[in-house]
Symmetry: C2
Subunit: 348 residues, 2 copies
């Protein structure tokens, strides 16, 4: 498949839309039948309740934004509209039940409880909408045509605002009893750690995600270990964000590299826990933080070799960057929607 | 199946031997073709190297003890000897590779590196020997005829000297890429925690196992919170063992109950982490500590409900005692051996 954006027009063939909903942005793609990306759109994820703070206003914000993404993708394809049958896949950061309802999404306050599937289908006048966990979508894309192609036991780890997971075990996607498996970001790795939006303390994603990086950096800044980074942030330790750290680290700043090594240690801790439970051949790391993986992978690999319970007695477990980049979730969501559509129309 | 010991003799039918190797004792059973237990034997697990401290002496100690268990079972059955073809299954606490070699066993120092399968087969003159992880054996027994019968997603947790695991996901035993899956006792739950024989710090089994109970109790004793228990132990906080705590708790001692509640909290933490990754319908708790489960299950259940990431949005996950008791591992090992034998002789 082609992972890059292709300028060629749709040409009237079958188009499938895929949208990956992150904590800060939504990324939509339109795929043709050969998995070429025909169009791509990015919009911010709605973060607040509407003027009306009742629950229905929140519902509307997410579904409105999703519908806008589809409209803009269709406009880029010069289609007059998406009225009528089209297939849309949506990957969301949280627990999705078998009916497409987002049951719980600590990193997406506007999403919890929203019946994304039915509402978006209604808004798009007859579209077929499939909703699944974002990391499951990304994992599916990497497994079928990315960094995990051909493997039978692999864990996809998406490092975004939080941490998502997609697990393939014995050649099958691990779903669990309710479809909620692979919520790996909420393994507790330090019961005395910082509070998590999920209500617990010390979840893995408080340390090894994009927001974890910012938190570790602010701690280091307050401790006086990040002078260059604090300068980049305008002098206020509380203003330090992840990109200040990765910018300074790219220039070799020792303080910034130290924070990334700390993040790598926590990342390795969670990977080692997952290896103890799942015994995979490889981990595939994707998500926004993966753009800076070359700064983190070395410390992660070294710490992982220390933390893996049986490191001397097993083949090395690969830790690889995802190949499909930030588009993995959207591509996987589109592919799920197409599979579902083929399944129902008997074209599979 | 009949889990209790049956006095009836073998009657010349097919007999399969199963041995569960624990950190402190080995339990062997002889099963007839209908899964009746014909004989049962317990011996201490060899704990030290022989007089000769080189590696081969350690090898011999474990295999010698296993052969003795089979001999004693055969003697109880009034068989003259086990010479010739017999099927023996062995469950061991550690990582077993596809060839029956015990690759790593932090709670069984005499076992690491031992080719249990080949050596025991040699010692027993032609027996067919199958070796697998002890908790996998116990999980298999509980899944096929115990507390997890009929479930498709379940985690068996054996609380012994350490913590072992057996996972069924989507109706299949989860094995992992190397057969090493479900080493759940070595998830790190507190990176600043006490050192583990595996080389890491703060592994789950440092808190929620039999040895974890003793450790938590000694901490509480030194802190002056366990006067009754320390009296039971002869007045020395360092002499406190798990059974002093469970004895005192059975009489309602508040200090002892407090330690068991603490253990329950740590048990719940690991279960919640596993639920986040695997989304099971149920946990089945077995192993030696499970004999006192009625004292621990209440605090565990309450803490689990607090610690489960998506507790409000999913069906309740059951936490049940194992049904086959301490014999689950031996029964599962015997059953594995019988299956393997049928498979190879075409009788399956």
């Amino acid at each position: 498949m082609t992972a890059g954006t292709s300028p060629r027009a749709s040409g009237g063939g079958e188009v499938t839309y895929g949208i990956d909903v992150g904590g800060t942005k939504m990324l939509g793609v339109a795929l043709d039948a050969d998995d070429h990306i025909l169009a791509e759109v990015r919009v911010p994820t709605p973060r607040r309740f509407g003027r009306d703070s009742r629950h229905r206003a929140a519902d509307g914000a997410l579904v409105d934004a999703l519908a806008r993404v589809v409209d803009r993708l269709a406009a880029e394809l010069a289609s007059s509209s998406v009225a009528g049958a089209c297939d849309v896949g949506v990957g969301v950061p949280g627990l999705v039940d078998d009916h497409g309802v987002l049951r719980f999404a600590p990193n997406l306050p506007v999403g919890t409880g929203v019946d994304v599937g039915a509402q978006l289908a209604g808004r798009l006048h007859g579209a077929r909408v499939v909703v699944d966990n974002d990391a499951t979508c990304a994992g599916l894309a990497e497994w079928t045509s990315g960094a995990a192609t051909g493997l039978s036991d692999v864990v996809m780890v998406t490092l975004g605002t939080g941490i998502g997971g997609g697990v393939v075990a014995g050649g099958r996607v691990l779903r669990g009893a309710n479809g909620f498996a692979a919520e790996i970001g909420h393994m507790v790795v330090d019961p005395a750690g910082p509070p998590c939006p999920c209500g617990k303390r010390g979840c893995w994603e408080r340390y090894a995600s994009g927001s974890g990086l910012a938190r570790l950096a602010r701690e280091a800044a307050h401790a006086g270990r990040l002078d260059v980074v604090v300068d980049l942030a305008g002098g206020d330790p509380e203003a330090v964000r992840g990109e200040h750290v990765t910018d300074a680290a790219a220039y070799g700043d020792a303080g910034a590299l130290g924070v990334l090594a700390e993040l790598g240690w926590w990342l390795a801790l969670g990977l080692a826990n997952l290896a103890a439970v799942l015994d995979p051949e490889a981990f595939v790391l994707g998500g926004g933080l993966a753009d800076h993986l070359e700064l983190v992978l070395g410390p992660t690999r070294r710490a992982f070799d220390d933390l893996l319970v049986d490191r001397r007695y097993r083949p090395e477990i690969a830790i690889r960057p995802a190949l499909l980049g930030e588009r993995a979730g959207a591509i996987g969501a589109a592919r799920l929607a197409r599979e579902e559509s083929r399944h129902h129309s008997g074209r599979g």
